[in-house]
Amino acid sequence: MIKKKVITLALSTTLLLLIINILASNQPPASACTIHLGKKIKFDMEISPKVPLFHPDVDGYLYPGRPKITKYLKLINVGDLPFRICRFNASFSGEIYLATGLQIEILELGKGRGEKPNLLYNGTLIDLGEGINVYGKRAVPPKESVTLQISVWMPVTAGNEYQGLTVTADISITVRFPPSHDGMKC
């Protein structure tokens, strides 16, 4: 009798997971995956602030050796499933050459005060254009957020060829579910 019950439970769970899988695999990855499964589970992240993160009107001009400009970007879990940061990408417009002369550092800040930040990326801005897979340390539960500390600077080795150039870099951050550590890409 007990055996039967156990087997039935196992069977139903497996079936449920299978159905979820099937349904999910039929959905294309979208910016707001909303899967209605009777319970209306959705997977959604939002960033804050929504205004340009860096702008010369606010930050002034970059020049070799000028101290880093640091900004903070919050990734908020407005969905029902936890997420982990998995990828950065960038697309450029304007005088793209300037991106070769700028360094960018992205840190994932810890939850509490004592938690050490996790370095996700430190390299030239132009290389972000290739897309970088990263492994975010935190699995961010629903209704919580993780903050990225982003710093940009022009190294002292930058020469006169960068003078006066302007570049716009749209930096993309991708988060994924499930947040398990399995070495998988986004």
Partner: protein, 198 residues
């Protein structure tokens, strides 16, 4: 004996079989569906960033690169005058200006008869040691003295903020008491302006 016990047993066996078969089917189907595509959810958000590099642009006079120069001739004992030019940081970041002098030439440029009468000889001229210069930028002294000593003159780290312009002035004079010895002599030098980020 076959009876209700046997029937129960038969039922259990049948049930077990059914369950096993179902599980097998589920497993096979699941396996088939899951092979190769492990699906997951992802979401991407984009933030816009705009960066502008500053510039330091030094403009001496009206042209860039500079065309302004000093070319004075027919100088006489007792003469004096000045030549000025505006120096401008037309860039977007603050800079430090340095001014230096080089390539001093002090030529005899031929000997007129009055010079010969004084015993003047080639190749060195006498104008450099008789041409007095007062070179300033917005009043700050860059060099004060005879042209012969100009290589020791100059300034460094003179602030020239973005958008700011200053007047660079060269005042010159030759004392009245100087005589024929300077006739036809020529003095020249190069002025180098460098603007670096502050």
């Amino acid at each position: 004996m076959i009876g209700p016990q046997n029937e129960e047993k038969g039922e259990v066996v049948r049930m077990d079989k059914k369950i096993l078969v179902s599980l097998l089917i589920v497993g096979l189907v699941g396996f088939a569906l899951g092979w190769g595509t492990y699906s997951q959810f992802s979401d991407t958000e984009t933030t816009t960033t705009v960066f502008t590099a500053g510039s330091l642009n030094l403009k001496v006079g009206d042209d860039d690169p500079v065309k302004w120069k000093i070319e004075l001739s027919e100088l006489l004992p007792g003469c004096s005058g000045s030549q000025s030019v505006t120096i401008n940081n037309t860039g977007t970041i603050n800079g430090n200006l340095s001014i230096s002098f080089s390539d001093l030439i002090d030529k005899e440029n031929g000997l007129t008869e009055p010079e010969l009468a004084l015993g003047d000889t080639e190749p060195d001229g006498e104008l450099a040691e008789n041409l007095y210069l007062n070179i300033t930028i917005d009043g700050t002294v860059v060099y004060q003295g005879y042209a012969s000593g100009i290589l020791s003159g100059g300034i460094t780290n003179y602030p020239l903020n973005a958008g700011v312009s200053k007047t660079f002035k060269v005042e010159y004079s030759i004392d009245e008491s100087v005589g024929n010895i300077i006739q036809s002599d020529v003095v020249g030098f190069t002025i180098t302006f460098v603007l670096t980020q502050a």
